[in-house]
Symmetry: C2
Subunit: 436 residues, 2 copies
């Protein structure tokens, strides 16, 4: 993974870093958390990637629950409980849902959608001949997420009609000591726990992401290794060589001058879910009614996700011609090992003649390059994250980098990047209505 | 379809309508276009839904090309050439990609993604035994869309290796008189045309959307009927009874007070692509460097799409606690015919007790209601679009309503909602690079 600023012409990285007051001190604090190796501080998530014990616990449960018979893994969870897993899954296997034969298949149930629940509990369960073809992973950090519990109850009840032993095919992932962990224990259901200080949106490298991904066959050692390797850079107290600090400083610098929208513009369509994972991370961490001193500030940066080149044909006009309220981060793979040649014998040779003799890579690189030039000309600021390939190692590095960027950004914007107090307001109203 | 303002407590609809200067006159102009029934004006798209001749032409080609053997329809197109079709497809059949046996399957190829192109040209083509199992629809309004032409050439060349007659299984959809139409004619490829004045983002009810949807079995008469029925309301010069005018007035009114982000918050996850269709419509129509008088204004509203309840666990914190820069439109179906009961015998009865004895509808309605109350309490403005059901009729009505809202919004914000001049800037740079 490489963070690039050199081709962006509208701002100066070093000026942004100079304005990042107090950041170096905070980086030292995060270094202390890393040195401790413990899960006591709000920044605890930085220690997940170096936790070999955690990987072993996950692998032991995978060894017990996953056999070659497995056809479907249902991940029941919402928000921080599934966005990270979905990001990695879609990046690595996004197109595989289209291939009917590949197994196991990962299915995500997040909101309570009757059409989708019906489809799985009726059409799909009836195609299975054996309970071992099925694995249900139910994830709720708090243990009290309404949609997750409703989906789990409906799904388990439907499966129980066919197989009395269905609870042996269920794995619960929740906070140590939650009511859900207690209930799982009482029902003899296998469960894995999340350290309390690791928030949902920082939990992808905990059992939350590791278990379903490992069950699917993703190399979780590589995922952690990528995260662990970049962690060293992101802990560097020389901020000019710390990518997480650089990125946070650039975001904060632009926020001051009114860039209140942050667009993650991925140029490999399989990375869209990775953008959505970051959307939660940025939206929930920085969008705050109060700052850390208790002042009512209504601050925040609205995250958007765009897919290149698709969205150039959708919102490109807005991005280049519209309000100067955006900072863009292009994310793309520089791996050129996969490419296709535009056929020499063309069917419609009279249209778009400029692609004659070019490869798909030539075309996509030219579009990306053209877009960057147009951004510079229109004074729309951007930075770029280059992934060497779309692999667990690189995705792990990207996620660790972004989670540490977010801690640093919280510090720079003077908000708590680990809480989400306003979410309670609608939950309370919902509870009132349901209890009426 | 019903547009609701009555449960939103932070603004007054009639005040918004009173500030909609000049809109009634423009509604009269659009009425003239509708009365003419022709495709000569920029607003020509309003006449698509009442064009029985168009539906007949589409059905005639479908009758020739679609048989029970058909397994895959590949829609090659990007932006306005596929977003509308994908919106309708995902709303009606989004979950069906997961059901291996259902045919035909609709596959969208938009950007030039090597992994996906490889997958289809290698893995999938080899599973087909007969050329009639395949239909390729290549759509480019201008006839010169780089990604669409590249994907078409690669896909057709791969298929040609197996079937010499592949061009009989290709349908081109493009502007009447474009170089692509000419090339299709010369190659004896079937083609359907788009009226020149109907822009890409307003073209879903033309052959662009109708042909692939009809080939798949969608009731395009109902789609057009829904659009045609709401058109009458959206042409009403009494703005207080014209939903497109109401919605445009409310958006413009809030834009004046700094709501520069418009969130389409769908509460049925199968409507996410409908939100993305609207994202192009709003982003590209209103995001403008210059107003209609030629002043440099850099105006625009950034569209975002959220999915309830999923994104409450992702960006709900930002929406309720963050900057007051958003206007939300909730979109949801009020159809309660499909629901599931939370099982009486629960597995984890000690967690989330409030859902005991409730249905999935009770839960989702309570969440939506709770979110609306929280929006009112936090002074976050919203409106709601209620669909009676998720059917071609209702989706057609929604799309027609939104396209007319956009024309009216362009008038209120003094920009041309039919052009996209800034897109040319990156295309020019891309062309320079490819021709080097």
């Amino acid at each position: 993974m490489r963070l690039r600023f050199d081709d962006a012409k509208t701002y100066d990285l070093h000026e942004a870093l100079r304005s990042a007051e107090g950041l170096a001190e905070y980086v030292s604090e995060v270094n202390n958390v890393a040195d401790s190796g413990s899960y006591d501080a709000p920044e605890a998530s930085v220690n997940l990637a170096v936790d070999a014990e955690l990987r072993n616990r996950v692998k032991a449960v995978v060894a017990k629950k996953v056999t070659s018979e497995l056809k479907y893994i249902f991940v029941i969870g919402i928000g921080g409980s599934n966005l990270g897993t979905k990001a990695v899954y879609d990046a690595l296997y996004g197109y595989r849902d289209l291939e009917p034969e590949t197994r196991p298949r990962l299915v995500f149930l997040d909101t309570t959608n009757v059409t989708i629940l019906r489809f799985y509990t009726e059409s799909i369960l009836s195609t299975l001949s054996n309970v071992n073809e099925l694995l249900i992973v139910s994830i709720s950090k708090s243990g009290g997420t309404t949609e997750t519990i409703v989906n789990t109850e409906i799904f388990v009840a439907a499966a129980k009609k066919r197989w009395k032993t269905i609870l042996e095919r269920l794995v619960v992932i929740t906070d140590d000591g939650s009511a859900f962990a207690q209930a799982a224990y009482e029902q003899h259901v296998t469960y894995l726990t999340i350290p309390k200080q690791v928030g949902g949106r920082y939990s992808v490298l905990s059992a939350v992401g590791l278990f379903p991904l490992c069950a699917l066959g993703v190399d979780i050692d590589a995922l952690h290794q990528g995260a662990s390797d970049i962690r060293s850079y992101c802990l560097n107290d020389d901020l000019a060589h710390n990518p997480a600090a650089q990125s946070a400083a650039v975001v904060a610098y632009h926020h001051q001058s009114g860039k209140i929208i942050s667009d993650t513009f991925v140029f490999n369509s399989e990375l869209e879910s990775l953008g959505k994972w970051y959307r939660q991370l940025l939206g929930e961490s920085i969008g705050k009614e109060h700052d850390v001193d208790g002042n009512q500030v209504f601050t925040g940066i609205t995250p958007t996700v765009s897919v290149g080149s698709t969205d150039l044909h959708s919102v490109g006009q807005l991005y280049l011609g519209g309000p100067k309220d955006k900072l863009t981060t292009f994310v793309y793979s520089t791996d050129e090992s996969q490419k296709l040649l535009v056929p020499n014998e063309r069917t419609f040779s009279s249209v778009v003649e400029m692609v004659n003799g070019k490869t798909t890579n030539d075309v996509m690189s030219a579009i990306l390059e053209g877009v960057k030039i147009a951004h510079n000309k229109q004074q729309v600021p951007f930075m770029s994250v280059e992934l060497a390939s779309i692999t667990p190692y690189e995705i792990g590095a990207f996620m660790q980098f972004k989670m540490m960027e977010m801690m640093y950004l919280g510090k720079l914007l003077n908000v708590n990047p680990f809480d989400q107090p306003n979410v309670e307001s609608y939950k309370l109203e919902t509870k009132r209505i349901l209890e009426k």
